[in-house]
Structures are given as structure tokens and as C-alpha cells.
Symmetry: C2
Subunit: 348 residues, 2 copies
Amino acid sequence: MPASRTLTLLTVATLAGLAACTERPAESSADRAELAEVTSAVALPSWNEGETRRAIIDFVARVTDEASPDFVPVAERIAVFDNDGTLWSEMPFYFQLQFALDRVKAVADEHPEWRETQPFQAILEDDREAMAAFELHDVVEVAIAAHSGLTTDEFDAIVDDWMATARHPRYGVAYDELIYQPMLELLDYLRAHDFKTFIVSGGGMDFLRTFAEEAYGIPPEQVMGSSGGLEFRMDDGVPTLYKLPEINFVDDKAGKPVGILRFKGRRPIFAAGNSDGDLQMLQYTAPGNRAAFGLIVHHDDDEREVAYDRDSHVGRLDQALTEAPERGWTVVSMRDDWKKVFPSPELP
Amino acid sequence: MPASRTLTLLTVATLAGLAACTERPAESSADRAELAEVTSAVALPSWNEGETRRAIIDFVARVTDEASPDFVPVAERIAVFDNDGTLWSEMPFYFQLQFALDRVKAVADEHPEWRETQPFQAILEDDREAMAAFELHDVVEVAIAAHSGLTTDEFDAIVDDWMATARHPRYGVAYDELIYQPMLELLDYLRAHDFKTFIVSGGGMDFLRTFAEEAYGIPPEQVMGSSGGLEFRMDDGVPTLYKLPEINFVDDKAGKPVGILRFKGRRPIFAAGNSDGDLQMLQYTAPGNRAAFGLIVHHDDDEREVAYDRDSHVGRLDQALTEAPERGWTVVSMRDDWKKVFPSPELP
């Protein structure tokens, strides 16, 4: 993480946090209003002034002000974030899929049969046409091959190594540099107001947990995602967990609210997503009749990133975009609402 | 919760917490030693002086003292507790099974077929002999019948109502009064030293979460347990989660470390259990070669509670008891180590 970004984040978090702290003893609503103004002036510095930024700040003010009818106690201030396309980029395709493709190539020598078996043959021969025609079961097969047959510790080390060495084809940087600066500020802003922030991703939980704490400040126990089978074994007295070649839970679409309830046990009051995979999570969190915030990151910036929505094969945003106005969800325009996309000064 | 207990707990927690806070600025190891002595004098008041209490206090001192080679940073201070037989009683049989039996009786009118179908017939006729012969699949069938076919909100309300009205056959009090006072103090003591406390139970997660926060101070997202299928539905625009008649995950035996890793993402350094169902969790946490604490509650008090271990059908403690000395686990004698068992002054 570049030092400059860390500093900015710390400053914002500290200022917002301090304001949140000093806010408590303030007795009069005039005091409160003044402090809220100070907080909101420094908050979310990479967000342009406008309706979106104002909606976020107003919502946080409403649910954290004890005098407000929408006040929400700290224990219930749960915020859930999708990852792919919401906290980091997902183009040209999901970064974890790139990890899986790289992993298949890395272990191909141990699987000579892959040279003549699809979907592996297409990957090993870099046959883009065949890969573009992959169906769901092909992707699942590749994912399972790349994510099982090893211990959880071995897997963590492999992901760490991949993250340190793999480079994005367009931006030429490590994939964990392609996280969204405005969303980092939003996470910090919510936490400064005593929200607990969670990731609820269709991506792999174990994969996400290797970098979520450093990238987003979200500890492993607050990262939900899809998962494979696990088996506990004592190997010569050493407790070991093996990743099995099977799917355990798919944390996507209607699986997201199920995952949230199983994992968290409480309904969130803030949900952020970017695709129809987040529709049910948004419906569950912000059906339109309670003090809750639904946020959709709309990828409409074809210069700094990629513009896509209703017709995209990755991160399709169709039904959720249609439902947004009637449920009062806030649609974030990456092009208009964000001053900057990525943290690094060398990136847009 | 009786007021007296709340007060005692608060006092202990505050004192221990204060000591933990003031401990930080202390520069010399002499200062630290003195403060540690103050803390340990007020800690765990329902635990008799002796090896067990000393082992707990010494362990906590070692892992929280920055000068110690066994120091563990706050983020890794994870403590996991089994529930049945570890945090509350489990005799004459698991309390949740009593809930399930009561539930079957309560809804029997909606299921006339149960009058002539086992295992339900035995329950409705109070046929103790037939019930004692129940096999695992019978119990599973009863559990599923009692825990599904309704929304999560409905289920929570039913458990709340049962907990408020059902009475234990021997002690004549609500089941959530039969939690162990010394274990409550242990939870508080660990939290005062910046441990994060979790439940890892073979019992139902949804059931546990209805009372764990009030009874143990453990919020829903820190309660792992067995779970059934869940389905998300929008009912006339209202987001609803239905409990399906199927088993999703059994959080027992080798399932416990799997559940911990899926849920928590980090290996604990403190694990407490009471039966062979906790063996793998103890092995995973405290295999014997790292700074970690394994604790076994041994039910050897036939006066105040029930004495049982290797031959019991409920909470059998056999292999874990055999393995305890070689792995350095601390076996708690309820008879000798606990001054008091339950919080209420009217109970032993």
C-alpha cells in the first residue's frame, strides 16, 4: 500500500473518528449540527460534491444521532459490501478467475492428462476462443482444481505469492492495487461512526481473507464468501485443514442473505453492491420501508475503467438497476461521483 | 438474570479491565508483576484457589505480557467455547432436545399423522422407553420437525417464549438460569484481557443466538453452531428467510475446526469443551506445541450437578480425557475447582 494513501486514510479516519467521539458529549442540537458539519467537510475526500455523497453523509448522520427517529444502536450498525466490482475492479474478468487460470498452468506438469482434457487444454494452450465459450461447469471445474488438494496454509501462501507477482494486463500493477479509493474512504467513514463492516462476496472466502485485512481493514471473521469443502486431519500430531474438491456454499444472489444470516445473525442496515448478484442482499437490507441504505456502484466510466451494465457477462447489472429507484437505492456514477478511482497516484 | 450476579460480574470485569488498562503504561516488569497480582486476586471469584485457577491466570498473563516470549497480539486472542456441558448444563439431556420435544407436542394438532408415526408417536405418548431407544436418525427427524417450516423471525419468537416458560425438571428454573457462574467469570476475564470469545457448539446456531448475548455476552456473529437450510424469499416485497427441513452443517467433532476456520478464519489460542465432541477443536487449538490453552470441564460433581464421563450417552468424555495429559490440557474438576455452579443464590 503506498504511504500516501495510508496517510490520507489515517487522517480522514482520525478526523472523522475524533468528530464522532467529541460528538457524544455535545448536548445541544446546534453543537451536534456544527460537529456534523466539520465531520462531513473532511469525509469522503475522493467523492465529488453532489447528491450521492450527500445521501451517504445524511444517512450516517440520521442513524447515529440519538435524537433522530432513525437512530440505530451501535450493535446493529452492520454494513455489508460485495467485493468484485464494488470494492475492487472485476475487468476484463474476475481477478480470482485469473488466479485460477495461473494456478492451472503452474501445476499442469503434475496433471499430464490436462493436455488433452477440456476445460484445461484450452487454458494450457491459451485458446481464447474456447475459453470465452466456457460454461458454468467448466469454470467450476477450473475453480475446484485451483482451490483444492492442499492445506489451507499452503493455499494462503500460494495466493500471497500470486498477489505479489501477478500483474493486471491493462494497468500493469498488482491486483490488490486495483481497489477503489472512494470505497476505502466509505469503509473508513462508516467504521468511524461505529459501523462494523463485512464483505459478502460470491468470490472464494479463503481467497478473499488472504488480502482483505490489509486492503480494506476487514478482518477474516468479517469476510463471507463462497467456500469449498474442508476436512480436519491430525497429520503426525499436527492439526491440519485440507481443502476438498467440492463446493460447500455459493455466496451469490439469493445465497447472500442466507450467508449473512448464517454468518452474522443480524440484518445489515447498509449494503453496497454492483450487480444482479447483489440484488437479494440489497432487497434484504434495504427493502424500502426501514432506515437502511442500498448502494449500487455503476460502472459508467469508460475512460478510467470500463463502462458496463445490463448486457455485460461479468458483473451484469440489470434487475437491480431497474429496482433501484422504487426501493430508494443510491446509484453511484463512477464517472461523475468519484474524483479518483484507485489509490495509487500513478493510476486514474 | 438476577441483579446480584450482574453486579458481581460487572465489578469483576471492571476491576480486571481497569487493571488490564493500567497495565499498559507500566514500564518496569516489577510494576507489571504488581498489577498482575492485583488483577489475579479479584479474578475468577467462583473458582477455588489451586492449580486450575492458577493455570488460567498464568496463561492469560503470559500471552498478554509484551515482554513474554508467548505474547499474542490482540487480533489473535481468540477463545472458543463449546456450549452444552461447558457453558451450561446438559442433563438429563441436551436442553435443545427438550425444546424440540416440547415443540413437537405444541404443533401436534397440525400433524395428525404423527399420532401413528414414530418417532413422533413416542413423544406424544410420553413413551420414555421408546424415546430412550431413539437412534440418531430419530433425533434428526425430531430436530428438523421442530426447527423448520417457519421464518427465522417466527423461530426466534418461539424459542424466546419457550425459554421464558419451560422449567428444568430437577432445578425448577428456566434453562438459561443453568449456565455456569465460573465459566461466565472466565469469559469476562478473557474479554477484559482483549480476547474475543466465540461459541462453537454442536447445538443449533439459530437456537443459541436467541439467548447467547444476554446469557454470555456473546453476540450472534460470534456464535457458531449446527445449522439447517435457509431460503431467501421476497414475500409481497418483504424480505424473509425460511428455515428449510434439511441439515446444512453439523458443527461437532471434526466439524468444529472446520466451522471455526470457515467462520473465524483464524486459529484460536484458547478452547474449552467437556466431551469428545470437542476433541478436534481442542487438538486444533492446543496440539501441545504452541502457546495455547485447552480446557476440559469434567463433570465429577454428583451432588450439585451430575457426575459423568467415559460411559455417558450425553456428553461422553473419553478420548479427550485420555489425551489431556499428553497435550497439556487443563481438566477442571467441577467438584473441587468451583465454589459455586450456577449464578442464582437459590441454586448450588
